[in-house]
């Protein structure tokens, strides 16, 4: 094991000297990919519509941790990236704005299922995540974590976009 790891390091070093900044695939990528692969082995998100009983991560500071979709407000088969759903809070932090067992609206800000973009390409994410909103469409929390797609602008969720750390 030790021998193999040392040899791989050697290969990487040789690669770095050969690439020398000309290649668009930076060296950092390789290492980060490896980390991500380990994540994938542990947990792989199912790639389907967001439908009844789909469990989603909440990526804001509203206090909820996990919600279950109980109704998609658009689409026959279920919700996709950028759609609004009705969800019930399954797990919540103590002392948050949102309590366990409450029902809220939420915007799907990340979905593992590929969604077509306006130019014909596709985009997909690592997990299924949601940001809780009130009935006027304003986010309940004051922060949004992780990347969100720019398609939210079309869906008139500009507030979420402005709060987001990264826009993909």
């Amino acid at each position: 094991m030790a021998a193999s790891s040392s040899s791989s390091r050697l290969v990487r070093a040789v690669g770095r000297s050969l690439f020398s900044g000309l290649c668009n695939n930076a060296d950092g990528l390789m290492r980060s990919t490896h980390k991500m692969m380990c994540n994938h082995l542990l947990f792989q998100q199912q790639r389907t519509f967001i439908q009844m009983r789909t469990s989603l991560k909440v990526v804001d500071n509203s206090g909820a941790k996990r919600v279950a979709c109980i109704q998609a407000l658009k689409g026959k088969k279920g919700a996709r990236l950028g759609d609004t759903i009705v969800c019930s809070v399954k797990e919540a932090q103590p002392g948050g704005k949102v309590k366990k067992g409450e029902v809220h609206y939420g915007v799907v800000v990340r979905a593992a299922m590929p969604r077509g973009r306006c130019d014909g390409s596709e985009v997909k994410f690592d997990d299924n995540a949601v940001v809780l909103i009130n009935k006027h469409g304003e986010p309940i929390g004051t922060r949004v974590f992780g990347p969100v797609p720019h398609e939210l602008r079309k869906k008139k969720h500009v507030k979420i976009l402005s709060l987001a750390e990264h826009i993909a």
Partner: protein, 166 residues
């Protein structure tokens, strides 16, 4: 509009093509076609897959350091539109492309230079060593036409000399 590079094979991804995967730390992986995407999902390392640009560069099969690659570099500062600059750029693209192709050809020619002689040498050696598998050595002795021609010049000279004497 930006022409991105495929994460796996380093080819150009034109707008509207391929798929992009956004990891939770907001790193974007762009793929030019489903082939590259599938290979990524299979957790293959592009440096170990022979048809990718990364492999070819790493193994010295393609040109790695060249001034022509500088023009293709990613720039994050938008250029202000200028008609003359655009016109010159469009002209230069063809010229630079030609130079790049020429240099790549030269690179490959340089890499392949010794190959023909090497193959010839190896073939000769094999013929010498294993001709007995095709024809028995006794037959070869009787019929010298089956062996390789070696130094015939000296014999010719002698025969000429003989003729002169006659």
């Amino acid at each position: 509009m930006r022409l991105e590079k495929c994460w796996f094979c380093s080819s150009t991804v034109y707008p509207g093509h391929g798929i992009q995967f956004v990891r939770n730390d907001a790193k974007i992986f762009r793929f030019c076609r489903s082939k590259c995407h599938k290979n990524f999902k299979m957790k293959r390392n592009p440096r170990k897959v022979k048809w990718t640009k990364a492999y070819r560069r790493l193994h010295g099969k393609d040109m790695t350091q060249d001034s022509t690659f500088e023009f293709e570099r990613k720039r994050n500062r938008p250029e202000r539109y200028d008609r003359n600059v655009t016109e010159n750029t469009l002209k230069a693209i063809k010229k630079i492309d030609k130079i790049r192709v020429d240099r790549e050809e030269r690179h490959i020619a340089k890499r392949m230079k010794g190959n023909k002689a090497k193959e010839q040498r190896e073939a000769t050696k094999e013929l010498e060593q294993s001709i007995h598998m095709v024809k028995a050595p006794s037959v070869l002795f009787k019929e010298p036409s089956l062996t390789l021609p070696t130094k015939v010049k000296v014999l010719q000279k002698q025969s000429e000399e003989n003729r002169m004497e006659e």
